[in-house]
Each structure stands twice: as structure tokens, then as C-alpha cells.
Amino acid sequence: MSTNVTETLQFNCTTCPSECLLTVEVERDANGAVVEVRSVTGNNCPRGDKFAHQELTCPMRVLTTTVAVSGGDEALLPVRTAEAIPLELHAQAMALIRGLVVNAPIRMGDVVLKDLLNTNINLIASMDIE
């Protein structure tokens, strides 16, 4: 495995408002895939370490967007994924959500779409709509 390369990356942790600047040493194989996260420094708490590992293997983000509403006092319902989903799925999720229509009334937390793209994560309402 002598073709593996080690590189040093810098990015901010976004877990909390402190936004620690992380310095991450990562080993990649010939195809650029992450073999090992060698070290994480710059974090002021253990969440930074966890974040860096996740970020280099499969970055996860909460997706927020809107869904068309029928019969409500608003045209759109703001929605979110209940938990973060892989960033690479966001475009596919948006294509799916574009055609959805939900009926009012809706309460914050109501499930708009179950198990979004087999992630086991639900798409939920962010707000009440009468």
C-alpha cells in the first residue's frame, strides 16, 4: 500500500456555534478513498473528532426545503429531514419532493414523507399551517 498518500485538510466543525477550525490528517488510497483519518486537531470538544470522521467518509446534512400545500393559508410548508441524511442524496430528494402536495392543517413535526429514499429518516413539517 505504498501508493497511499497522506494529506492535511482544514475545515470548520459545524456541530455548534464555536465553529472550531479542524486540522485533519487523512490517508487516502490510489483512488482517493479515505483509508484512515490519522488525526484531528483544533477541536475543543470530542464532537469535533466525530464530525471530522463523518465528514471524510460520508458527509451528512439536514435537508430543508418546502412542500406545496393544498387548502392552507400558506402556499408552502417548510419541511426538513428529521435527522441528517447523506449530502449526496440531497439532489435526488429534491426531485422527489418537488411534486409533493400536502393538505392543511399541518402541525410541526407531522411526517410528510416516511423513510426518505430508504434512509430510514422521515421528512417532517417545520411549522404549523392552518
Binding site: 418546502t66 412542500v67 406545496a68 393544498s70 408552502l76 419532493i97 418537488r98 411534486g99 409533493l100 402536495v101
Partner: protein, 484 residues
């Protein structure tokens, strides 16, 4: 298909609208044909709204005759047509002896032009009249008759009154060709427009920057227009409205003037540079020149809070600085009101009066109508209404209590009224010019989407068809969600 009128007026700028209003009292069928989709979209919307008193034009010129007279007429016009007009008086500020000599020259010009009550005043009187005028000013020409208006409001009010008296308004009708038949023919002129053809016995050219083209199409006088472009800046409202303050004029322009507006803002007007015809861009150098020039007159002016910067072209006829108002020497029956650059706003009522005289002298029969109504009732302005009237309006229709534009306090019902007036607003900017929604410091950041929704509802169209101004100025595409 082709409708025939006694008179067709080309151009719904302040000149065309004033002429329409003036002639509407006579037993004539009149049509105003406008290239754009609304009133006052050319030079009439790109000026500072000043009703100059008339001491600038060289005595003996047409300008000299109509400017002072126009300024005088504004009092009556404002009363009859229900638009705001503030006759505050103005000062031309001088900063040295050389300026003082020029002020004396201006005063004599003014006297010759019939401008009333002009006097040269010193520093004490200057600061009594306008405490914010520069302390460096050593002398000033004090002119009590100067005032200011909202130029769109004047044009809109004049045309509304004309339309109420039977005048037809054709918008989005740029004249593409003019056919001229034998003189004396009731249908001597046939104008081709994309909105249909119109025929008339008498044609009035009030086409602003398009005046040379119209004259050419009618095979009348050949002349060239020069686009003397000006940038203008509007500042936020002040606790006290400023009196118009002028610098000593240059040979081509009155220089950078600072003035209050009828709505309490401050306007800095205008630069003068010959640019490509149609160029309505603002330029960083012009805007800086305006702000610098204004601070010279009013040193404590807060020039940081620019509400709006805009630009337009003065319709200047190449080779003359004067107006051309009269019957064509080449094509009888064609009447020209061309080269109406500054002071076009101030002169508008007098240009209309003069046009009437010219037509009468040319043998146009003018019989007064018994049912002519000179009065146009100003639409309700919620922001200016006393509290009791506000209550009454809301009780009459709750939409008067539904705020849309928070900067200028414009409720929904006022916007609906602006759209339903005749001729009404058909665009977001048209709404703004009629009731000020979006005119304020946030420049429609908060209310634009609501105005779009109201326009779509009232005009029976989709929001994607609502225009900011004229054709092509779409604001939004279709929906994002609920579509596959």
C-alpha cells in the same frame, strides 16, 4: 379596425398629458397614443420634479415664455387636478463676487421673462429662508415662485382628467408609420401601431425623445435629437423638507440642484452629459458628482442614505436649446411640441395653453363642451389622511387597514385603487408611481411579492406575467413546488 379621431396626440409624457387635458374641454374626439405601457415613462419620469420659476431662459425664447407662465399656472392646475404642489420658493446660491454678478444677470433675465418678486439677498436672509444652506454662500437670488411636484403624479392626474372627459388612451402603441393624405381630409393622418391603426385630422407630436422620428414619419421638419443624459439621486426623508437650492448655472444646465420633494425626501438633480440615445444607466462618476455638488450647497446633507438613483435623457433638439411649439411649416395639421427638455415639467401647463392657441390660430375649431369637468378628485392617500378619515376608510373596506408597503404606509385598498383607476397601473412600477408602494427606503424589498400578487389578481393573470415596468420586465417564473 381603424378608429378615427379629430386629434391624436403622440406621447403620454407630461407634455402630451397636459395638452390632452387642455383640449378635452372642447367638443373634439381625442386619442393619446403611447409607445410604452404607461404614462410618463420617458423624460417625464427622469427629472427632479422642480417647477422652475423661469429666470434661466434667454428672454424672447419660447422657453422664456412658457416657463414663467407654466410656473404661474401650477397653482390652479394643482387645485383642479388634485396633485401635490409645494410653492416653497428657491435660492440660487452664490459664493463670491463673480457669482454675485451672474445672480444679478439672472435677476434681470427673470424680470424680462415676467418672473415675480425676484431679489438678491445676503447671508442673514439666506439662513432665515433655508437654515441648512451653506454658510459659505455670500449672496443668493431669492425667487418665491419656485416650487416642486411629483412629475408622474402631474402627468397621471392630467391624463386621468382628460380620460374622464372622454379622451381615449392607447398604451403599448409605438407609432411605426404615418401616412399623410390631402389636407382638409378628416382622416388626413393614419398612424400604424401594433395596437391598431388610428386616423385623425390633426396630429400633435409630443413624443419627447421620439419627436424627431414622428416628425420624420409624417414627412415634416427634419431634425435630430440629442440625448443629454442626467443622473438623479433620491435621499431618504428628512424631518423638514428642503427648499430648492441651485448653484449658479452653466451654459448647458442649471447645475446640481438640491431640493425637497412633495413627499419629504430630498432629491439631487441632475448631471448633464451627451450619451448614446436610450442610455438610462446611472454612472458612478455622475452619482459622485451629484453627492459632491449637493454637499456644496447643503454641507450637512446626509448623502449616505440613497433611496434611489436613476437616469434619463432630456429631449434636446440638436442645434437649439429652445422648445419648438407650433404647426409644422411643411405639413399643415401637424402640430409639434418638440425639444421639451428642461424646464419641461415647469412649462407643461403653459405648453398646453400655447398649443391650444397655436391650433386656434391655425383654424382648428374649438367649441367648449357643456359637460367638461376640470376637477379630478385626488385618490385617497392613507398615509396623509387624518385619523378620522383613516377610520372611515377601513370601516368602508377592511382592505384599507391591510398594510402592504410599510415604508410609505400603503394599504392594499390603495394599491387596488391605483390599478382600477382610468388609466390604471399595469405594472409594479406603475403601482409605485400612483400610490408610492415600493417607493420608500426598502425599495420594495418587503412589499414587492405582495404587489405582484395583487396585480395578478386584479389583472387576472399569472404572477409570472406581472411586469416590473414594460414588456420583457418579468419578475418571476412559475411555481417551484407542486409541479412534476
Amino acid at each position: 379596425m381603424t378608429e378615427t379621431f379629430d386629434i391624436v396626440i403622440v406621447g403620454a409624457g407630461i407634455t402630451g398629458c397636459a395638452i390632452a387635458r387642455q383640449l378635452a374641454r372642447y367638443d373634439l374626439s381625442i386619442c393619446v397614443v403611447e409607445a410604452a405601457n404607461d404614462i410618463a415613462l420617458g423624460a417625464s419620469k427622469a427629472n427632479g420634479g422642480l417647477v422652475h420659476a423661469g429666470y434661466d431662459p434667454a428672454p424672447g425664447t419660447v422657453k422664456a415664455q412658457v416657463n414663467a407662465r407654466g410656473c404661474e399656472l401650477y397653482g390652479t392646475w394643482a387645485q383642479e387636478l388634485g396633485f401635490l404642489f409645494c410653492r416653497t420658493g428657491s435660492m440660487v446660491l452664490g459664493f463670491n463676487d463673480e457669482d454675485g454678478a451672474q445672480l444679478e444677470q439672472l435677476r434681470r433675465n427673470g424680470l424680462a421673462n415676467g418672473v415675480p418678486e425676484l431679489s438678491i439677498v445676503g447671508p442673514d436672509r439666506i439662513h432665515e429662508l433655508e437654515p441648512r444652506a451653506s454658510a459659505d454662500a455670500t449672496c443668493a437670488l431669492w425667487c418665491p415662485s419656485t416650487g416642486f411636484v411629483d412629475p408622474f403624479e402631474v402627468a397621471i392626474a392630467a391624463l386621468e382628467n382628460a380620460v374622464a372627459n372622454g379622451v381615449t388612451f392607447m398604451r403599448s402603441a409605438p407609432v411605426e408609420a404615418i401616412e399623410v393624405a390631402g389636407s382638409g381630409d378628416d382622416g388626413r393622418f393614419t398612424l400604424a401601431t401594433p395596437a391598431g391603426n388610428v386616423r385623425c385630422r390633426y396630429l400633435i407630436n409630443a413624443a419627447g425623445n421620439g419627436a424627431a422620428d414622428i416628425s420624420h414619419m409624417a414627412s415634416a421638419e427634419e431634425f435630430q435629437m440629442v440625448w443629454r443624459q442626467g443622473n438623479i439621486v433620491v435621499l431618504d426623508k428628512e424631518p423638514r423638507t428642503l427648499m430648492p437650492l441651485y448653484p449658479v448655472p452653466t451654459p448647458v444646465s442649471k447645475g446640481v440642484i438640491v431640493t425637497g420633494t412633495v413627499h419629504g425626501n430630498t432629491v439631487i438633480t441632475a448631471t448633464a452629459a451627451v450619451r448614446e440615445p436610450g442610455d438610462t444607466q446611472t454612472y458612478a462618476s455622475d452619482v459622485n458628482a451629484l453627492l459632491t455638488g449637493a454637499r456644496k450647497l447643503v454641507p450637512d446633507l446626509d448623502t449616505r442614505h440613497v433611496v434611489r438613483a436613476f437616469a434619463g435623457g432630456r429631449p434636446v433638439i440638436q442645434g437649439t436649446n429652445d422648445f419648438f411649439i407650433g404647426q409644422s411649416a411643411v405639413v399643415p395639421g401637424l402640430f409639434q411640441a418638440a425639444g421639451i427638455q428642461s424646464p419641461g415639467v415647469a412649462s407643461a401647463p403653459a405648453i398646453a395653453e400655447r398649443m391650444e392657441l397655436v391650433m386656434r390660430e391655425a383654424g382648428v375649431e374649438l367649441h367648449e363642451r357643456a359637460d367638461w369637468n376640470p376637477i379630478r378628485r385626488a385618490p385617497d392617500d392613507f398615509d396623509r389622511a387624518p385619523l378620522a378619515r383613516k377610520e372611515e376608510l377601513i370601516e368602508f373596506n377592511p382592505a384599507w387597514g391591510q398594510i402592504v408597503c410599510r415604508c410609505e404606509t400603503v394599504p392594499e385598498a390603495e394599491i387596488v385603487a391605483a390599478i382600477r383607476r382610468r388609466p390604471g397601473a399595469v405594472s409594479v412600477e406603475g403601482v409605485k408611481r400612483r400610490c408610492r408602494a415600493g417607493m420608500g427606503r426598502c425599495q420594495s424589498g418587503f412589499c414587492q411579492s405582495r404587489v405582484v400578487a395583487i396585480l395578478a389578481r386584479e389583472l387576472g393573470c399569472d404572477p409570472s406575467e406581472v411586469l416590473l415596468e414594460d414588456t420583457g420586465s418579468w419578475l418571476v417564473e412559475g411555481p417551484l413546488k407542486g409541479v412534476r
